[in-house]
């Protein structure tokens, strides 16, 4: 059902660097992640190890970390976790925010990751720049099937080679009792 749409993107001014890292300098929400990408000495909003620790503390089910640095240019890691109920999913998101607040205690300005979908607890996204955490409940996880998007994406480009084999003309099956007329007999 996926239609093949050949789309092209033409950039005017930002051909050299990926546009998202350039824009990140302007948006205050993501300035720390931009600095973290260029100067690894500065910490990101949340490290991957801290995220994993929090998710195991909250007992989130089936945590998967997918590095998408080569596929997506807007983020580096996708973390997918599932919760047993919508309350649990909300709890996972709240725990991550709480950890970020704890890390930044003492500084005058808090930079919080953006949280989407928290009023309906089916799919909550915590976007902290280089790491995006998707907290879904189990039904939503089966429905949206996010891992197949990023793990299969590298291999999706390869099967195009088989298209030539797929379009090979095959002989029709002859279900009638009459024998097939051969082309060679005049």
């Amino acid at each position: 059902m996926i239609s093949v749409v050949r789309s092209r993107f033409v950039t005017a001014a930002l051909a050299s660097s990926s546009p998202w890292k350039y824009l990140a300098g302007f948006l205050p929400n993501f300035s720390t992640s931009a600095e973290a990408a260029e100067a690894p000495s500065k910490k990101a909003l949340l490290d991957l190890s801290e995220v994993e620790k929090i998710l195991s503390d909250v007992k989130a089910g089936d945590v998967r970390v997918i590095p998408v640095r080569d596929q997506c240019d807007y983020t580096d890691y996708m973390v997918v976790a599932s919760g047993r109920s919508s309350w649990h999913v909300r709890n996972i998101a709240d725990a991550l925010i709480h950890k970020v607040k704890q890390k930044q205690r003492g500084s005058d300005r808090l930079i919080l990751p953006s949280v989407e979908g928290s009023e309906a607890g089916k799919w909550i996204v915590v976007d902290s720049g280089t790491i995006i955490v998707h907290a879904l409940d189990e039904k939503a996880r089966a429905y949206y099937n996010l891992e197949s998007l990023w793990t299969k994406e590298a291999s999706e480009k390869v099967p195009c080679l088989d298209l030539e084999n797929a379009l090979v003309k095959s002989r029709r099956r002859n279900n009638s009792k009459k024998p097939m007329k051969s082309v060679l007999t005049a």
Partner: protein
């Protein structure tokens, strides 16, 4: 599923300068431009405007709907731009889909013919108007999004649609 191209693609290529546009194939193309319009470009180009009541949009996810007519643009009197949410009525749908014809649905505009300015001064403009169907809480009804989607969705808190998209413009 042919996308409408801009009426004067040659003047579009002069705008983009050294990049060289040759619109090959079917598909919607995103264009980023700097705002240096010459007199002839203003004369030839269509003035694209907001998505308002009555606008027909293409649906680019696998929720089952094909075309949706906007009946209300939330959050603006003038109309919806890229990244805004609209309320629409499904005008055409696939036979076995999650929505059927005549349903009133919410949608997020992911491609708009009207250009939208980015914070570095460039603009983004697509060839068609496209929408992704969403429920009232903001969760996408479909599971995959086709075609390019712009970065603006991230700032507008539609990261879910970005995550489902196959190509980010």
């Amino acid at each position: 599923m042919a996308a409408r191209f801009l009426s004067k693609s040659s003047s579009g290529s002069s705008l983009l300068g050294a990049l060289g546009t040759s619109l090959l194939g079917v598909g919607s193309v995103a264009r980023q431009t700097t705002s240096n319009l010459t007199y002839s470009d203003i004369f030839f180009q269509q003035q694209r405007t907001f998505i308002q009541m009555g606008t027909k949009l293409k649906v680019v996810d696998n929720s089952g709907a094909k075309r949706v007519m906007c009946i209300q643009a939330l959050k603006s009197k003038k109309g919806a731009k890229l990244g805004d949410i609209i309320i629409g009525s499904v005008k055409e749908a696939q036979p076995r889909g999650k929505v059927k014809k005549g349903d009133v649905v919410y949608g997020v505009v992911v491609r708009a013919a009207m250009q939208r300015g980015r914070c570095d001064g460039s603009h983004v403009r697509f060839d068609d108007n496209a929408v992704v169907l969403v429920n009232k809480q903001g969760e996408p009804i479909g599971t995959r999004v086709f075609g390019p989607v712009p970065h603006e969705l991230r700032k507008k808190k539609h990261v879910k649609i970005l995550a489902l998209a196959e190509h980010i413009a």
